[in-house]
Subunit: 285 residues, 2 copies
């Protein structure tokens, strides 16, 4: 991390180089935890309420008892993001430190950390002209107990990301049945005959906050929306395709595997305009 990263771990602030956790933390030992990432603009974390809500739901799913830690995280975030022009706020929560095995008892005290790092310097062209995408060989994992929540078991995302060529900005993960699930760091939307479609995430993937916002925004704009299975071999048939997350906002997909396609942008542009006007996104594109 850059030297400008600030981090607070369980109420203690560290410089990036000094920030440490126990080697026996279950976050490291088993990926036993959750995280959230959100943009900060003028000292405010955008869509923070939704991110905290998902974090709470994730803790419930995994049985991580946070006690008063959510309040402490909120205070730490306020302290670290205060007066910041732009940045990325990342929260990690783990079940805490325990003995060697998978078992844990109710006495564990969770580990939490809140860090602020620089907002990535993505070219404006990604949101304007769109990005190049590959369909990754790394499959999306299927597990209905882990789908949806933003847990720390992210090897499939790491491996998918590592497949990208230098001129590709994102890779799509497909499950073993050939359904497109998501991008390595984003959710996918498609538009066909004016209907906005995004993959069903019952068995795989992360339910992104921006994905939820866009589904709601589209409904408010009287755009018909569908959450359903999206076969990868039908990707070429859509009128528009775009990616989203809380940090990138909406990126139109320009081409997949070097095949230029998706030139229509009608719904994509409407949604980009809507999140810009609602001030729930970072960059005024």
């Amino acid at each position: 991390m850059s030297g400008r990263t600030r981090i607070i771990i369980n109420d203690v602030e560290y410089s990036a180089d000094d920030a440490v956790v126990s080697a026996f933390d279950r976050g490291l030992q088993f990926g036993d935890g959750l995280f959230e990432t959100m943009p900060v603009r003028d000292g405010n974390a955008l869509l923070a309420e939704q991110h905290y809500e998902r974090l709470k739901k994730g803790c419930l799913s995994l049985g991580i008892e946070m006690g008063s830690s959510f309040d402490a995280i909120g205070r730490a975030a306020a302290r670290i993001q205060g007066g910041t022009a732009t940045g990325v706020l990342k929260i990690i929560v783990t079940r805490g430190r325990s003995g060697r095995g998978y078992a844990f008892d109710g006495e564990l005290s969770p580990t939490w950390m809140v860090s602020l790092s620089e907002y990535p310097n993505w070219p404006a062209a990604y949101a304007q002209q769109g990005v190049n995408v590959r369909v990754c060989k790394t499959p999306a994992s299927r597990n209905c107990a882990l789908a949806g929540i933003k847990h720390l078991n992210r090897l499939e995302n790491v491996l998918a990301r590592a497949e990208l060529a230098a001129d590709e900005q994102e890779g799509l993960l497909v499950d073993e049945f050939g359904h497109v699930i998501e991008g390595s760091m984003s959710n996918l939307f498609a538009v066909g005959d004016g209907v906005l479609v995004t993959p069903d995430l019952t068995h795989s993937g992360v339910c992104g906050i921006m994905r939820g916002v866009l589904l709601e925004t589209a409904a408010g704009l009287s755009i018909t929306t569908q959450v359903r299975q999206m076969p990868a071999d039908e990707l070429a048939h859509w009128d528009e395709l775009f990616l989203c997350n809380s940090l990138i906002g909406v990126w139109p997909i320009k081409q997949i595997k070097h095949v230029e396609k998706y030139k229509k942008r009608t719904v994509t542009r409407k949604l980009q305009q809507a999140i810009r006007e609602a001030k729930i996104f970072m960059v005024d594109v």
Copy 2:
């Protein structure tokens, strides 16, 4: 961890309370790494060669470049286990520390740690009379790129383990197609009509070292072996069922969900005797 745990991280020895890694280590951030666990007896890690071999294969799968770190790990293990009567040696390797996103470059320097903790005090009855097992609700994840290797994305094991009642020693994970895959910390074997069967792990689960040893041992004893899909709804039909891993050796299954069954132990006892005689397991049961 108990105060008797010793740990060496990247060549530096720590007490358990002082052992730390960077909060930006990818092991914590994404579960981006691997581990091995093996018993130590009279200063020797048992089946160490096979464990190191699997670790190397895992590093290849994940693209973690260890350089000379394997040698350093071997030296650290020798130092920490030397003269130890009994214990558990655990090795963790991560891709190292990086910036916030999933991307990484070839410049990362891996983090490794070698720890020695107490050998668990399991009752001898588990290996002799057998254990009680439950079929867990937490499903086994399906992902052919991650199946087999012992990576740090272990949330399904944590959640499955948390389902166990006080009188249950292990839980079985079943995939979404109803195939039994493994125990939360062990591999599963079944015997029917004298044939030894263990689940196919192409899409899910960890290829345990003891599983491999038992398959080889059984072949040497002219017991027919099969690696294939095992439907969970056929569990009641087997003559014998047992669990294995490097730490527990072989535990017969006595009952599943409080239904006493599996009283035959012919093949199970043969294999227990074989690993005892080969001195590749810990306890002389």
